[in-house]
Amino acid sequence: MKLYGKYFMIHFKSTMEYKTSFLLSCIGQFLVSFNVFLGVYFMFQRFSKVEGFTYNEVLLCFGITLMEFSLAESFARGFDMFPNIVNKGEFDRIMVRPRNEILQVLGSRIEFSRIGRILQAVVMFVYGFTVSDVHWNVQKIAAVLFMLIGGTVVFGGIFLIYASICFFTLEGLEFMNIFTDGAREYGKYPVCIYGKRILQLSTFVIPYALIQYYPLLYLLDRGKSYYILLPLIACLFIIPCLLLWKLGVRHYKSCGS
């Protein structure tokens, strides 16, 4: 943990070397997500409800998903950029240092400009929060916290799978973006609107629904009380991801000098 703190500081210092660039990317990140927000807004100008969810509720949902994704992206950026790390031979360096590889990859990239997107997510969330008629209490705040934790872990896990595949292909696979950026985009709306099959898939295979749909129902007083714990169960998703990673490291071939 202390080592991660050190990594964090060194990235912070690096980012501060280029303040203007940092500021501009933050604004860019903010605006891009704002676009999506507008998209949802115009949709609801035409339809007042989607599968029983109102505009404010969808905003709440989108706000949380976007926050989860952006958090994962800020911290697990090293896995998202992993093809680069392998191709530039940085992974060789990681292998000759006496620390866990995952910690080092996590520490090799920390993206501060994602703060723009997180900010946008917070704005959306707070707006959805104030206008929706959710009655807040301690359990619900805990549910939101669990969603953030579970969501960050699940998205982190998907980044980890993406990185592990690079060991075998030495190349990034674009199709994996369906599960990362794609999930973020689909995450605008509660998963159930995409039909039963998708809901099943995202409950049992890649647990998106556990970090988004079910706890959302709980927040809106439509779900059972155990739904509050589902995001934590979703964290188990990281285990197969870690196993795949271990397999990948053993398969690592390096590349020319």
């Binding site: 050190k6 360096r93 000759v96 620390r99 390096s254 000098s257």
Partner: protein
């Protein structure tokens, strides 16, 4: 003590002709060729020895270094370094080695050198007194005092290389791998790096394994050379073994490569 016995490493390389149609064909059917990067390589290096590991490009030098430093796993053969198998006891093993890849930096580009060193202190869990002691010694020997506060991106190549070497030695490793440490350096920096390596070997008895294409490096630093070509060891001896009656070592080496058709 480093022992390597009958080590074999093969790479699978995909092959195709140039051009669009063959690129398209390769989408469906790829042809592979197996390249023996290392073919039955064995040698022993004692503690405190300084060895030049030479050979033409693509002979297997880097593969050997990567196996010795625990990055790659060979298909066959054994390798023991101070009682540890590098690829099996990776974390234990790499605590005792330092690696300098001449063509790749291990320092953080945008921040002063000192910050990178502080991070390495944390990575290697170096205690503060021994860190301070080593840093002071290295600063002195490599003349770094002016450089430590400069961001890495503003250093010249020679200055950066001195910092790279210092970074690999902060944790006091017993073995130092140098992969082309003098590549691209000017005469002054080259001499500084060579002097330092000699001093390090003498004072701390660090085992040094050096790969280079610069024969002057070899002449200045080592008695023993291991020469590898096409994945097998062709010569394990002294520089005089290839020198014979040629005027320069460079020419002698070129003649040696030609005579072995590598």
């Amino acid at each position: 003590m480093i022992t390597m016995q009958h080590v074999r490493k093969t790479y699978k390389v995909s092959k195709r002709d140039a051009g669009f149609s063959s690129a398209f064909k390769a989408l469906f059917h790829k042809e592979y060729e197996y390249i023996h990067a290392l073919d039955d390589v064995s040698f022993t290096i004692c503690d405190g020895e300084m060895v030049g590991y030479i050979g033409p490009n693509g002979a297997g030098k880097s593969s050997t270094i990567k196996i010795l430093s625990g990055i790659l796993t060979p298909e066959e053969g054994t390798c023991l370094i101070n009682g540890l198998i590098p690829w099996k006891n990776r974390i234990e093993h790499v605590k005792n080695i330092g690696v300098v890849f001449g063509q790749r930096s291990q320092l953080w580009w945008d921040v002063p050198v000192m910050d990178s060193f502080e991070l390495l202190k944390e990575i290697y869990k170096i205690s503060t007194p021994s860190y301070n002691h080593n840093l002071e010694q290295l600063t002195d020997m490599l003349n770094l005092s002016e450089l430590l506060k400069t961001p890495v991106r503003q250093l010249s190549l020679g200055q950066r290389m001195r910092c790279e070497i210092a970074a690999s030695l902060l944790h006091d490793p017993k073995i130092l791998f140098l992969d082309e440490p003098t590549i691209g350096l000017d005469a002054v920096s080259k001499l500084a790096v060579r002097d330092f390596i000699l001093k390090l070997n003498k004072e701390k008895n660090t085992t040094v394994i050096l790969t280079t294409h610069d024969m002057q490096d070899i002449e200045a630093l080592t008695n023993r050379i291991i020469l590898i070509g096409k994945g097998s060891i062709l010569l394990d001896g002294t520089i005089d073994d290839i020198r014979k009656d040629y005027d320069s070592t460079e020419e002698a080496l070129a003649a040696f490569y030609r005579s072995h058709n590598i």
